[in-house]
Symmetry: none
Subunit: 173 residues, 4 copies
DNA sequence: CATGAATGAGACTTCATTCAT
DNA sequence: TATGAATGAAGTCTCATTCAT
């Protein structure tokens, strides 16, 4: 807390006028940042009309946010809200709910694609998860240094895998 | 440390004869567990001949390990080796190297599939990553409670997405 | 201080215009209250003519004040002016001086009784103290819950013990 | 706590191996000291046979303990177990129970005197309280400096007032 | 080698007080 | 004069680590 106060240019006591304690400070910052992230992503998606372009915008917006907030994301990715010994269940629940809201948003895109005859007809929710997994996986690996190259350059790869898998054209299981 | 010592039936001082400190203890345990995990997975894969069956065995072995080691995995997934304020770069490097070894192992499977004409001909390493992302994503979501259902039941889903994507048969981008 | 200011309807800063600090505030309040108590007691005593009735009035006035100011008295009895880590010697001295003034006042009553041939002829000051001890003792025990019943009901007991002790009539030491 | 640790020649951490916290330390010390005081007083009383001598021994033992433990008593008398903002109710209850035990012990002496025809026949409990009040009153006043002279010199005064009151021999109310 | 009492730096938090507005 | 946001010293407690036995 002392370090944070100094970094923010406040006295310790002042910090406690804004936040009730360490956990409150942490929770507030994470929630605020996540909401901004989810909002930016939704805005980027809604700026597009075409379903495939929406999906591309989604991936790009994710990557953009991470690149613009590398510090926060690195920290968050490495702690997953669990750095505090006992992050309040309130935060855990809020994080999961915000995440599920995002999944639902992605599912909307997938459903749209299904209606348009672009995507396979079932499992829209599982597909939404799948896209999230791939996006978060590549983000994670880049942030921890297990994967080289810029995130935004990987947009095509993510979309390609998500849409077409790795099976060779025409090959049947 | 006191708690760990008691749990292990040692005196605190004795713990410090085996490990140089808390970090050393943590690193040793994580490394040991991870190596066991990777080994179990490789063993499961090597017990199969067919490429697609090898991949299925890989996914299943991952899920099995997680289900059999839920405590460790939940902890690890939530801390990503970063719970200690300053996890030694040594650990980070070891974790990443072990992970990269696993990626390489998966890449071997993909390359085999490519040679056999099953998979698309390029980007074997990226495809290896992709499988890792999907597997880890679903594990993560199940462990934190953002995804319902048993992991092993999801094997088919993971493989389907990895192999064929979500694009409708015959649809062209 | 913040709580006090709010309770008083002032801003914190305003409190510091009236009092130099927490101790000054505390001292002022205690002194003011004690002076009122002593004044009420003297008034009650002076309203009587007869010596024994004056003493009865003294005891009753003490008890009445305590019952009417239970909050303050409970607090004061439990802290004895020592709650502040370093109550200024000024306060201690003022408290003791006010107390000694009260003892002197009671001594006046005792002396009056001696002159009237009611009380034993010497030790008027010690007897004054004794009455104070008995009164304060019962007040203390009632306030902390070690003695049951209403204070005013104990007036007779206090006076009886003070005047006649517990020795059986006619018994000689 | 730092000051206490230093005074005791321990490190702060060591203090926390003996006591769970500040309150535990405080409670333990007070209880321990009080029990010793009560024990010393009972021992002194039981060493006598004669009722009046028992009472004299009681008063003297009180005074002796206070003189031998002036530091503790001064502190305790000024805080009455209330120095800690929220002394656990457990302590308050223990203190009151120990005190009531002492009152009961004194009541035993008074009852003995009543049976022997020395004391007035009723109110044994109230008389026990009265003796306690007088003893504690004089102790208090001496400790805070409102009464001069050595405590042990006051034994006769206390007993005289307790037994015979201040009413002149032969005078009737 | 094993032990575990002792250590003390450092973390979080409170709250009486100040001072620019 | 009144305000109240800002201050930071001081307090309590934790826990990884050491070292004499």
């Amino acid at each position: 807390m002392a370090e944070i106060a100094q970094g923010a240019g406040f006295a310790i006591g002042t910090l406690y006028q804004f936040f009730h304690g360490k956990e409150d400070l942490y929770v507030s910052m994470v929630i605020e940042k996540l909401q901004r992230m989810y909002q930016e992503i939704r805005d980027a998606v809604q700026a597009r009309e075409d379903t495939l372009q929406k999906i591309e915008a989604l991936v790009k917006a994710y990557f953009l946010f991470v690149e613009n907030n590398a510090g926060f994301c690195t920290f968050f990715v490495r702690s997953d809200g669990a750095t505090l010994p006992d992050v309040s269940n309130a935060l855990k629940e809020q994080l999961i709910n915000a995440y599920l809201g995002q999944i639902q948003f992605i599912e909307g895109l997938v459903s749209k694609g299904i209606k348009e005859g672009i995507f396979k007809a079932d499992k829209s929710r599982d597909y939404a998860y799948a896209l999230s997994w791939i996006i978060r996986g590549i983000i994670y690996d880049c942030l921890v240094g297990a994967h080289q190259g810029s995130l935004t350059d990987k947009t095509g790869l993510v979309i390609d895998i998500f849409l077409r898998g790795i099976l060779k054209e025409g090959y049947r299981l």
